[in-house]
């Protein structure tokens, strides 16, 4: 029972982990990308579209291509969204909040439009597309997962994207903390004028980190459809996971390593009502509020303690342009 709950929590948490890792990388460059929900949605539909076309065109799926095609499509789709965001906010100096919110609306529109079109193409009675063949490949577990009892259940019973999420978070954490690139990226987010004076290209760092961050976040969307939802795409099925990812960024005080545990906690809070007997719908919805409540608590605690390292990057949300002298 406990093993199942943890397993469900991890699976719930994985899209959030992708989303928050991507958003942390983005925010470390000083870009507050509120387009993450839209970007994750685009990441999902791009993967679905790629996979759909591949499934339609061949009779027998090549497992390698079945993974590679949606993966590449998803990364390209969401990175493109990041590029739009950067172009508008960095090059055109548009307001970051407005641009981000617009991208969310835009991304969800794109997803629903192409999702709807694909559903029309297959001509089914249910308003969804099922890519079960691809999904099976995405969900392939490690061969020894079930021979190890509940230990195997908790640690090895996931599709590969779960491990990718954790590895990406660990790598991001390492890059931010230990490398020159990370130091420069943090400097750009904290004090772009200092970075500029030190000869670091602020624009380049903002573009690259935002695009990579968006691509990572997009994988969260892909994971949701291909693994969590068993390859079934239905419009608006993604829910509020994008916003939860942004909440998770704050919860984990901009540290991808904390985000790993945070995502499992959020996932746990998300799935726990299902395991409470005789729960009513309204109580269940109250439970769904919990991650946000926890985030607000973390926000309050970090601002009371006022430790500088736990604050958002100092230049977050502010456009940078060298003063015209």
């Amino acid at each position: 029972m406990i093993a199942t709950i943890i397993q469900r929590a991890v699976m719930q948490g994985t899209p959030l982990l992708f989303g928050s890792t991507g958003e942390i990388l983005t925010e470390k460059s000083g870009n507050l990308n509120l387009g993450i929900p839209g970007i994750m949605y685009v990441g999902a539909i791009s993967g679905v579209a790629g996979s759909f076309i591949y499934e339609q065109s061949v009779a027998v799926l090549n497992p390698f291509l079945a993974i590679l095609i949606p993966l590449v499509c998803s990364i390209l789709g969401s990175a493109l969204m990041g590029l739009i965001y950067c172009f508008l906010t960095v090059s055109m100096r548009a307001n970051q909040n407005v641009t981000g919110l617009a991208l969310t609306t835009f991304g969800i529109g794109i997803g629903n439009f192409f999702g709807g079109s694909l559903i029309k193409l297959v001509d089914t009675d249910v308003p969804s597309i099922s890519l079960s063949a691809t999904s099976t490949i995405f969900k392939t577990e490690l061969p020894f997962a079930h021979s190890l009892g509940s230990f195997g259940e908790i640690f090895f019973s996931y599709g590969f994207l779960v491990y990718v999420a954790i590895i990406v978070a660990l790598i991001s954490s390492h890059v931010l903390k230990k490398t020159r690139t990370g130091l420069h990226l943090r400097a750009v987010g904290e004090s772009p004028e200092t970075a500029d004076a030190a000869g670091i290209s602020v624009t380049k760092y903002k573009y690259i980190s935002t695009c990579i961050g968006s691509a990572i976040a997009g994988l969260g969307g892909l994971y949701y459809v291909m693994d969590y939802a068993n390859g079934v795409w239905s419009n608006n099925g993604f829910g509020d996971r994008g916003w939860l990812s942004i909440a998770l960024v704050i919860f984990s005080v901009w540290r991808p390593s904390i985000s790993i545990l945070g995502s499992i906690l959020f996932g746990f809070l998300y799935v726990i009502p299902t395991y409470i007997p005789n729960i009513t719908v309204s109580t269940k919805i109250l439970f769904e509020m919990l991650p946000y409540v926890v985030t607000i608590l973390v926000l309050i605690i970090t601002s009371i303690r006022d430790k500088k390292e736990n604050q958002p990057p100092a230049a977050l949300g502010l456009p940078y342009f060298r003063e015209e002298r």
Binding site: K178, T179, H184, R186, A187, A195, A197, K308, A314
Partner: protein, 512 residues
């Protein structure tokens, strides 16, 4: 001997629009030598050094490094020529440690090896005698420690020519002594050092040569050992020039604002006002002279009810009732409700005085929006006031509904002064009201101040140009490091006298 010259400038000229920042300035600095650049505020010291460090590009003139002519077009070029500048405002990342800030931006073929960098930084700090904890975060540091980080940063990048812009402005006397010690160590190991300053005694204790700038022009270079304070002051302020500002003799003056022994601290806990007392009389212009940042801003804000005082009283004599009121620790609104008509033209026009994105009429309403009983705003009166100001002060604007930030500095200032005068004040305080204004606009402002004075207003004028202060003011209060160093008569005082008073208190501080 001449081979030793690290940096030489010849006939450098730089203009910004019509303003000449530097005109035919030449200087030389040799290896193993400290050169001071001395001048008043706005004499072009920082502009000159910004050209050396690649932030500005000169209009005319040549630069030589190690005897070879060179072109410095960007900070990167300056860095390649091993020139490092330490600005007054530090460029450091707050949440990074000292070491992280020092290695920031470094491009190194080899990997990112922090322990190795720290070793190298330690070599530098030990060589020159810096005291620095490399693991300490910047936000935990004092200003002096931050400055040390900046200096070590340029040294770590291999700078041979160091330029420090007003390095002691933010330091305590003890910290200054420490800084001078490391600067001398660096000089002795063969670095060329230029410090920008306006403090005479520092020039005399530290440097080998002094180059003096006056209003952007080169006033000469002297060997420190062969000069004295009086000579340097004269070079710095120059001969008195006549501006022909009309000045009437004050009539029927009475004490309007009596400031008694006020002191206050800033957020960092250093005293910015120390036992300041003076009286502003009606029908008189009281000038306040001093090096920028000596407490002028805090003084005016304290009177206007924007700053908190630790000690002292501010007594206002009401001309109508004859009552005395203490304005200390009252908010601007309370002051107004007490019937005190105090007008304040702050230094930061578009930050504190006006709202840049609002039009002229709306800016007028900032003073009067509380008037009237209806829940709706009364737009008629402010509108006619705006139109009156535009007409009377000849404000150049497309209409009264143009956002203020689109107007030129002079016009913005006219609107602000116009609004403040319209409330028919009994005390008018103006901080640097002509900063950045052309001659014509400046004279309009002087005339307005004079007009108010003749009406019997007590005018307090904070200025930076000593010529103007001497022509405009009846009395001049000189402030240095938050203390009153003297009150002189505007008609009989000389520039040299004021110049010496301006630098006086900081010297006393050091001797304590």
């Amino acid at each position: 001997m001449e081979q030793n010259i690290a940096l030489e400038l010849k006939n450098i000229t730089k203009t910004f629009g019509n303003v000449i920042a530097n005109k035919n300035v030449s200087l030389k600095v040799r290896k193993g030598e400290i050169l001071s650049i001395l001048g008043e505020n706005g004499s072009g010291k920082t502009t000159l050094m910004n050209m050396v460090s690649g932030i500005y590009y000169p209009d005319h003139g040549q630069m030589f490094i190690d005897g070879k002519e060179c072109i410095i077009a960007s900070p990167k070029d300056a860095f390649n020529y091993k020139i490092g500048m330490i600005h007054q405002h530090f460029k450091l990342v707050d949440v990074f440690s000292a070491a992280e800030n020092i290695v920031l931006g470094l491009k190194d073929e080899k990997g990112f090896d922090m322990p190795n960098y720290i070793e190298k930084i330690k070599e530098i700090t030990e060589k020159y005698g810096f005291e620095l904890d490399l693991q300490k975060k910047i936000y935990e540091m004092s200003v002096s420690e931050k400055q040390t980080v900046e200096i070590v940063k340029v040294l770590f990048r291999g700078a041979d020519i160091l330029i420090l812009d007003e390095p002691t402005a933010v330091l305590t006397p003890q910290e200054t002594v420490k800084l001078f010690k490391v600067l001398k160590n660096m000089r002795d190991s063969g670095k060329a050092i230029i410090i920008i300053t306006h403090k005479l005694h520092e020039v005399l204790t530290l440097s080998d040569y002094v180059t003096v700038l006056r209003k952007g022009e080169y006033a000469g270079t002297v060997k420190t050992s062969e000069t004295n304070e009086a000579e340097l002051t004269e070079m710095m302020v120059g001969k008195k020039i006549s501006l022909n500002i009309h000045r009437s003799v004050p009539e029927n003056t009475c004490d309007r604002l009596v400031v008694q022994k006020i002191s206050c601290m800033n957020r960092e806990g250093t005293k910015v006002l120390d036992d300041v007392s003076f009286t502003a009389k009606s029908g008189e212009i009281l000038g306040i002279a001093g090096i920028a940042g000596s407490g002028q801003r805090e003084l005016l804000e304290a009177i206007a009810g924007l700053g908190h005082l630790d000690e002292g009283k501010i007594i206002y004599n009401d001309p109508k009732s004859g009552k005395e009121e203490n304005l200390r620790d009252k908010t601007p609104l309370q002051i107004r409700q007490m019937g005190v008509r105090l007008a304040f033209v702050p230094e930061d026009r578009l930050g504190m005085g006006l709202v840049g994105n609002m039009d002229i009429v709306d800016n007028m309403m900032l003073r009067s929006y509380k008037k009237g009983k209806s829940v709706f705003l009364q737009r008629k009166a402010p509108k006619s006031l705006a139109e009156e100001i535009i007409e009377r002060l000849e404000v150049v604007t497309p209409s009264a509904n143009t956002p203020v930030r689109r107007l030129s500095g002079g016009n913005v200032q006219k609107i602000l002064v116009g609004r403040e005068i319209a409330s028919s004040p009994t005390v008018l305080m103006a901080a640097y009201p002509v900063r950045g204004l052309d001659i014509n606009s400046s004279y309009t402002i002087y005339n307005l101040l004079n007009e108010q004075k003749e009406k019997g207003v007590a005018v307090i004028f904070v200025g930076e140009d000593l010529d103007v202060l001497l022509e405009l003011c009846d009395r001049i209060l000189v402030i240095g490091s938050g203390r009153v160093t003297g009150i002189v008569d505007g008609r009989s005082a000389t520039k040299e006298e004021i110049g010496l008073l301006m630098t006086k208190s900081s010297e006393q501080h050091d001797e304590e």
